[in-house]
């Protein structure tokens, strides 16, 4: 095998004007958009903490920004390909870090995800996520010739599941959620067996919807439900003879669907039918288990977007008030430091998860447009790098990172608008949170490193 250079730009190994070459071939759209978003973020954090005399947040974020930019420069210069052979060590590093967090981590709001380093606290799961993308990319790059489902699907899923388990033990539910879109998009990219992809997606979708439905029902006042649903729900929650009836009914319904589909000349095999039922069953059991792990306040947060009045003083309140904040910004916004919803405490977490509410209130539609365009450029450039990357390794990394950004963006702003569960996903570059900012810049650094080396042959 070839040995990859630490800083490789060409095969000739004759590096002239290294820095000039790096600067010229960097993806400046990507770099500028991420830096501008971070600066807007700094401004918004300053505004959020302006009257409460806690300028420490701005200072911390600024320091994290500097660290992030330094890491970005380092990872731009380093050839990303050098990680490829060492993915197994990186994976072990991920696991060990998470175990370390479990051992010495500090608990904050029910989540044991931080390591207190006295000067600042570190959230390793943010960095682990980026490294795990490298691990997956390295794994697929190594096994690209192997078409076996076991290699292409089950091993990566197992690798991911270990991390899931550790994160769930930490109580970091939101961190788990982000892995799923990354995993699915990488699976799609590397062309695993379409059937497996279909069933695994089905599993995730079922789990997700069932989980939300289950949480919703457990919190809702069931006496107001129609009789049939009530009977169904009570039967499901208590293990009794009704289960047999339900299973029988479901079986008959599914059989008829299958029969109709067959009549309509869709080739649906009986095996796939059984597999679907099996997946529904597994996801239901998964939901029942995870429902017990998740704390009541988290349950309320998760379903607050469906009905904010479940928890009008908690998560539901956050959703309602943030929506009001966004809407009240109108076209021009209320001006810097002049927000009322955010400043007077109606919007909670205005410097972290709900920072977009503050931004939309103070800068209005113009400000939102500006930031959304920057994110659009960021995601678009990441996907372009996926396309133009020199090799599979780079392509998979870029795919993972861009789907991560896109998903973060969707979940966070969806949460602000009351469309997605309040799971505490930050807006990359904008929200307060040093670890997230550093990790995001690290990701951008890797993307830039891939971009710089796309021309090299």
């Amino acid at each position: 095998m070839e040995t990859k250079n630490f800083i490789i730009l060409s095969k000739s190994n004759k590096e002239e004007n290294l820095i000039k070459k790096i600067i010229l071939s960097s993806n400046w759209k990507l770099i500028l958009s991420s830096i501008i978003i971070s600066l807007v973020g700094l401004l918004m954090i300053w505004s959020a903490t302006f009257y409460s005399n806690t300028q420490i947040y701005v200072t911390k974020q600024a320091i994290a920004l500097i660290i992030g930019i330094i890491l970005f420069i380092i990872f731009s210069i380093i050839n990303y390909q050098i990680f490829e052979p060492y993915f197994i060590y990186l994976y072990i590093f991920c696991i060990l870090t998470l175990i370390l967090v479990l051992l010495i981590g500090t608990t904050y709001r029910g989540t044991k995800a931080w390591i207190d380093l006295k000067i600042f606290t570190l959230q390793p799961s943010e960095i682990v996520r980026i490294i795990f993308i490298l691990v997956l990319a390295g794994y697929f790059d190594k096994n690209w010739r192997n078409k076996e489902s076991f290699v292409r699907f089950f091993i990566p899923t197992a690798m991911c599941s270990i991390i899931f388990l550790l994160l769930l033990l930490e109580g970091d539910f939101s961190a788990v959620v982000v892995y799923i879109p990354i995993l699915i998009s990488i699976f799609y990219l590397v062309e695993i067996n379409r059937k497996i992809l279909f069933y695994s997606s089905l599993f995730f979708i079922f789990t997700f919807t069932l989980f939300i439905i289950k949480t919703y029902l457990s919190l809702a006042n069931i006496t107001k439900f129609p009789k049939l649903i009530k009977w169904f729900y009570i039967s499901l929650t208590r293990f009794n003879i009704n289960w047999v009836i339900i299973i029988l009914i479901l079986g008959i319904i599914i059989f008829f669907i299958w029969w109709i589909l067959k009549k309509l000349l869709f080739n649906v095999s009986i095996e796939s039918l059984i597999l679907t039922i099996f997946i529904i069953w597994t996801s239901y059991s998964f939901v029942v288990i995870s429902h017990k792990i998740i704390k009541p306040y988290q349950q309320k947060r998760i379903v607050a977007f469906l009905n904010p009045y479940f928890d009008p003083s908690g998560a539901g309140y956050q959703v309602i008030q943030t929506k009001i904040a966004i809407g009240s910004g109108k076209f021009l916004g209320k001006g810097l430091f002049n927000s009322t919803q955010a400043k007077l405490g109606f919007v909670p977490e205005k410097h972290t998860d709900f920072i977009f509410g503050l931004l939309a209130e103070e800068f209005g539609f113009i400000g939102s447009t500006f930031v959304i365009i920057l994110y659009f450029i960021l995601i678009l450039e990441s996907i372009k790098i996926t396309q133009t990357a020199r090799d599979t390794f780079g392509s998979i990394i870029a795919c993972g990172i861009s789907s991560m950004f896109s998903f973060y963006f969707l979940m966070n702003i969806g949460m602000c608008l009351g469309l997605s569960p309040v799971v505490g996903i930050p807006l990359p570059f904008l929200s307060y949170g040093g670890s997230n900012l550093v990790a995001s810049f690290l990701a951008v650094g890797i993307l830039n490193s891939i971009h710089i080396r796309k021309f090299v042959y």
Binding site: V190, G327, K330, I383, Q387
Partner: protein, 606 residues
């Protein structure tokens, strides 16, 4: 070399998958951008208003309503100040401040500590003693978080006497609130519900002050955004003479019957007296005592019903004057006309009785008015015909409201052939004409209309629009409104007819049915009326005006109605006597005062 290009070959295969991923990953920003456009641009105004509601707390300070005075400047309605103390925890309280507050307001200790603990705006004390208020004011620089607000509560000084003129105020109902929201009314505001309080609401109301405070999510005040000062309402000066009003009310009440008295100045239409009995104490509506209000609403004498404006009664014999004027002015009879009264008038199957059972025998016009002979006027009415009577009744405003500046006035009913056809789908009979010509049957009028009628006779044909508000003065003394008499109509009638009518009406008081109103050396012209009604005893009427002097319009025209009072001459006329006695006394007093004032100025002048 193949192995070198291997990653590249694999990558080529990935290309076709990337385009799908591109679409999926780029859709969130586009989708959310559309949603944000919806929330910020299309629904922006809605959310902006909610955000404002979230942060603003408005505390209104009710403005005092304007005072109401009578024509002589006697106060009829004013405001009683009631001091309320609020606690605003905007600044951090210091122990000294709390200590001084506690010594001054020991009874609100719990409230104060609650306000400090919860950081909520709280009303510490209501109706505070003036001494404490002055002490607080003198220490205001030391106590920062206190707000002293003076609330004004309406007070009606003359209690019942003016209840149907001034009316009363009450809290807004939900309907009123929805209608008046745009004019700046709050739900807890008071609004005029009756009388002048209602019709002059916009002048009396004043402008409420407000304290607009910004609060945070927990409801703690953060800063005062606006402090709008209140300004009181304008003062009203009425045309009512409280001496006459009081004596009128007193004499009506002493009959023990319900009724109404309206006195109008025939020179300009100014209302000097407006009594409707049974009446009520308007202070009841301020004091919030539900029992008393309930009692008023359940009283069978209907104290809230303004008989002077809303009550429709047949005018009885007082209407004979109109029949006379119509007949004389149309040259259908002369003043010399004579009819024979046998004690009844047979028309078809029906017999119209005269009040004199034996009949007046052969009676002339003059004595017919003096003695109020029914048979004479039925003859006269049939000769004149209903169309002519209707024309004259309309001239004297019997077909509409008087348009007085008080609310809820009832419309008089002036019957005609057309009216009967529309109302009863039946033709007009001579019997109807006979009834109307003696003021019975379909014709009904309000007491204020009868006063207007009396005043039009007194000033020989001018119908003035009656009014109760002479002028409106704002709190700086600027005159906002000054009433000028409004002529509604002028009825052209030969002077000799007026002289004949006046002469005969004077004789009614001097030696006729209205003798009970006779005052020596004071000429009053009047006409009694006894309106039959199917529900009980007759209503007693008396319309009159005086003093009747050569080339001078009388000062006061009265219409007195006593419900179920019996004979007008016996029940209503004595009330007129009392009113005019007071009138004479006051006039003499005024002359004396003027002379005294003149003498004094003479003495000090030089």
């Amino acid at each position: 070399m193949d192995w070198e290009n291997a990653p590249y070959i694999l990558k080529q295969r990935l290309q076709k998958n990337i385009s799908t991923i591109t679409y999926i990953l780029l859709s969130p920003p586009i989708l959310l951008y559309v949603l944000i456009f919806y929330y910020q641009i299309i629904r922006g105004e809605y959310y902006y208003n909610i955000a404002e509601q979230n942060r603003l707390r408005i505390y209104t300070l009710n403005a005092p309503r304007g005072n109401i005075y009578d024509i002589k400047g006697n106060i009829l309605a004013d405001n009683r100040p009631s001091v309320t103390i609020f606690y605003y925890p905007i600044r951090e309280p210091n122990p000294n401040e709390i200590k001084t507050l506690l010594t001054l307001l020991p009874q609100s200790k719990e409230k104060l500590f609650f306000a400090i603990r919860t950081k909520k705006i709280l009303q510490l004390a209501d109706a505070v003693d003036r001494k404490i208020v002055f002490k607080l004011l003198s220490m205001k620089h030391r106590i920062s978080n206190i707000f002293i607000s003076t609330e004004f509560k309406r007070r009606y000084i003359e209690n019942e006497n003016f209840s149907h003129i001034i009316g009363y105020i009450g809290e807004l109902t939900l309907n009123e609130y929805n209608m008046l929201k745009s004019k700046g009314y709050n739900y807890s505001d008071y609004i005029g519900k009756q009388g002048i309080e209602k019709s002059y609401e916009e002048y009396l109301r004043g402008k409420n002050g407000a304290l607009i405070i910004e609060v945070d999510a927990k409801g703690n005040p953060t800063k005062i955004l606006k402090d709008l000062k209140l300004s009181g309402g304008d003062n009203l000066f009425l045309t009512i003479d409280s001496d006459l009003q009081n004596i009128a009310r007193k004499s009506l009440a002493s009959t023990g019957k319900n009724g109404a008295i309206v006195g109008i100045d025939p020179n300009n239409g100014a209302v000097r007296i407006l009594v409707s009995y049974k009446d009520f104490d308007p202070n009841v509506f301020i004091s919030l005592s539900k029992d008393e209000r309930k009692k008023l609403l359940q009283d069978r004498n209907l104290p809230l019903f303004n008989r002077a404006l809303q009550g429709l009664y047949p005018p009885g014999s007082t209407f004979k004057i109109l029949t006379s004027i119509a007949a004389l002015n149309e040259n259908l009879v002369s003043t010399e006309a004579k009819y024979f009264c046998s004690g009844g008038f047979k028309l078809g199957n029906k017999i119209f009785k005269c009040w004199e059972k034996n009949g007046h025998k052969s009676i002339d016009f003059f004595n017919a008015i003096r003695l109020s002979c029914n048979v004479f006027f039925i003859n006269l009415g049939l000769k004149t015909d209903i169309d002519k009577i209707e024309t004259y009744a309309k001239m004297f405003n019997f077909d509409s409201t008087t348009e007085i500046d008080l609310p809820f006035e009832a419309k008089n009913i002036c019957p005609s052939k057309k009216w009967k056809k529309e109302k009863f789908k039946s033709i007009w009979y001579d019997g109807d004409t006979a009834s109307v010509s003696i003021g019975q049957g379909y014709i009904t009028a309000t007491p204020i209309q009868m006063a207007l009628f009396a005043s039009a006779i007194a000033n020989k044909g001018t119908i003035y629009k009656p009014y109760v508000v002479e002028k409106i003065v704002d709190k700086n003394g600027n005159i906002m409104y000054q009433h000028t008499p409004v002529k509604k109509n002028y009825i052209k009638i030969k002077p000799e007819i007026w002289n004949f009518i006046h002469k005969s009406m004077i004789e009614v008081v001097n030696s006729g049915t209205g003798y009970a109103a006779y005052i020596p050396n004071f000429k009053i012209a009047g006409k009694t009326g006894t309106a039959q009604n199917p529900h009980g005893e007759d209503h007693a009427w008396f319309i009159c005006f005086g003093p009747v002097e050569e080339n001078k319009i009388p000062d006061l025209a009265l219409a007195i109605l006593v419900e179920h009072g019996g004979k007008g001459g016996a029940v209503a006329a004595p009330i007129a006597k009392e009113i005019f006695t007071t009138y004479i006394k006051n006039k003499n007093l005024n002359i004396e005062l003027k002379q005294k004032f003149y003498r004094e100025t003479q003495e000090y002048g030089d």
